[in-house]
């Protein structure tokens, strides 16, 4: 369960950063992204996939735990 730092890029896309792995990728798709529910499966620019526990939309930037799929 790596800690992931999420922040918005200048162009509005989400940036997914894992300090321990030097992974800095854009989020290509997010399973749930509505005002009620946020999270689920994320697909990154390099094709790798992670999973956030669905939750209320968080205030970004934020550090969250994710599961590697």
């Amino acid at each position: 369960m790596p800690s992931i730092m999420l922040r918005h890029r200048d162009d509005g896309k989400l940036l997914f950063y894992v300090a321990k792995k030097d992974l800095e990728e854009t989020v290509e798709s997010l399973e749930f992204d509505s005002p009620e529910k946020w999270g689920g499966e994320v697909v990154l620019g390099d094709g790798s996939r992670y999973y956030f526990e669905p939750m209320e939309p968080p205030k970004i930037p934020i550090t969250l735990r994710a599961k590697r799929l």
């Binding site: 922040r7 300090a19 030097d22 992974l23 390099d46 930037p61």
Partner: protein, 493 residues
């Protein structure tokens, strides 16, 4: 020699790798690459931030170097104890030329070396008592210090001293920040982890100190300069530009910086990151906790400066935007004169770089402004996010080398035949003896500043001074010169 094609560069890498045993060859091959601008991500072509291969001559440093030497060391009004044996602190003392204003030994301590000078008995019985005594002595002798940081050297981690307990107790006693930093040299693969550890220590022990203190009067134009270590006065040359465009620089991290500045940084509106590698961690933390956005900028060479000034201004109102244009306009004649003077002398010259942190990509723009071309670059301790940023700056089919070994670097230079090399002091004399002009780019070869418009003039002069120095014609011993040259010399005399 004209530029190498992609195939030739690949062949060159293969040729250099040839001498290694098979296993080493496989490992090193991952760290050498030919630049391809079409790649979005560097992990497709280069591996970085891995343990150096045993037996090769690496040019890297250690975690202690990253923490004490780079991040903490320049904070001028703190005393940084090199906790452990005497050598680590003494041999790195004042080597980085982080300039500062103040009276050394009274209210600033940048060039001094404080150490607990571990002896055998401290290793056997533990050094915590000695550390406590040392901190009390510092308080007696240097009462104007604003805080103390304890920079661990290798033995501290090995013998398991509890420096955190000492720090907490002394913090209470003296009512000053006493920061334990667990930056033992054996941690991590290079100085890079030391930066991270140092950033985390600042995050935990310094940044929150004024969280509930609103006495600091902010303005909408407050910024912090982060990751500028004031080498030869760099941060000052940057700061004047920012102030001229109407911004207020609240803090300098950490060149010529103070504890108070750092504690006030959470009150700024924008963090400006120069050295991304060593301080992005704290910027990311501040973005999350204090909602301060951060941007990277580059103050090497007029093209990049203008780009960066506009980028910084775009985060503020029209007053600052106009200010940025005014600054660019004001220095236009000055930097054009520099280019007009030096470009004809440097045009078309080829440069190879091998440095750390930000320079392998940041200075490319400055060289290009002088008509020079960077044909190879590499980092000592970069991570992949640095190479992501480098690929776009470098030309196609140029060389990239990560954690290059002494042997590889020499061979590359012999084959690529650059006109100038920019690297560190350990490489300097090897290449000078090979007859290649060399600049020590870690601390600007005892010159500087190189940041900002003022710095660019010095940069251009230094490059010219090195490259066009007549001494390079006298490298060959007289009896080895061929007859044609003899005639020329005789005619000249």
């Amino acid at each position: 020699m004209s530029a190498l094609s992609k195939e030739e560069t690949e062949a060159l890498i293969q040729e250099v790798l040839e001498v290694y045993p098979e296993k080493a060859q496989k490992d090193r091959a991952k760290h050498l690459a030919v630049n391809d601008q079409s790649l979005e991500k560097s992990n497709k072509c280069i591996t970085s931030n891995r343990k150096s291969l045993p037996g090769v001559m690496t040019i890297r440093g250690c975690a202690y170097a990253g923490s004490k030497g780079v991040v903490w060391g320049p904070i001028k009004d703190m005393i940084h104890i090199s906790h452990g044996p005497v050598g680590c602190g003494q041999y790195s003392r004042a080597g980085r030329r982080n300039y500062y204003v103040g009276t050394t030994g009274v209210n600033t301590f940048g060039t001094m070396n404080f150490t607990s000078d571990f002896q055998e008995k401290d290793i056997v019985f533990g050094g915590d008592k000695k550390l406590a005594k040392l901190i009390d002595e510092i308080e007696d002798l240097f009462p104007l210090n604003k805080g103390i940081s304890i920079q661990s050297e290798c033995p501290i981690g090995l013998i398991g001293d509890d420096i955190e307990a000492v720090a907490k107790q002394k913090n209470k006693e003296h009512e000053k920040p006493v920061v334990p930093v667990r930056c033992e040299g054996f941690r991590g693969v290079s100085q890079s982890l030391g930066h991270h550890i140092a950033n985390d220590a600042i995050r935990d022990w310094i940044l929150p100190n004024r969280d509930n203190d609103n006495s600091f009067e902010g303005t909408p134009y407050d910024v912090a300069v982060i990751g500028d270590y004031n080498i030869g006065g760099d941060a000052w040359a940057s700061r004047t530009l920012l102030e001229e465009m109407g911004l207020r620089v609240v803090a300098q991290w950490s060149g010529d910086g103070t504890v108070a500045e750092m504690e006030n940084t959470p009150k700024v509106k924008l963090n400006l990151i120069h050295c991304y590698r060593s301080m992005n961690y704290i910027a990311r933390h501040m973005e999350e906790k204090y909602e301060i956005p951060w941007i990277e900028y580059n103050f090497f060479g007029p093209t990049k400066i203008a780009e960066s000034l506009r980028k910084i201004a775009s985060h503020f109102d029209d007053k600052i935007k106009a200010g940025a244009e005014k600054v660019i306009k004001r220095y236009e004649a000055e930097y054009n004169a520099v280019i007009a003077k030096f470009r004809p002398r440097l045009e078309g010259k080829r440069v190879m770089l091998y440095v750390g942190g930000l320079r392998p990509r940041h200075v490319i723009g400055a060289y290009e402004d002088l008509g020079m071309e960077v044909v190879g670059t590499g980092y000592e301790f970069a991570h992949n996010d640095d190479y992501d940023r480098t690929i776009k700056e470098m030309g196609n089919a140029t060389l990239l080398y990560d954690d290059v070994t002494g042997y590889e670097f020499e061979e590359f230079v012999k084959k690529v035949k650059p006109d100038l090399i920019g690297s560190g002091i350990k490489e300097k004399y090897i290449f000078q003896k090979m007859g290649v002009p060399f600049r020590q780019m870690h601390s600007w070869d005892y010159s500087g500043p190189y940041h900002g418009y003022d710095g660019f003039a010095i940069f251009a002069r230094d490059m010219d001074m090195t490259l066009n120095n007549p001494c390079w014609n006298n490298i060959k011993a007289p009896w080895k010169q061929d007859a044609a040259e003899d005639v020329a010399v005789a005619a000249g005399a």
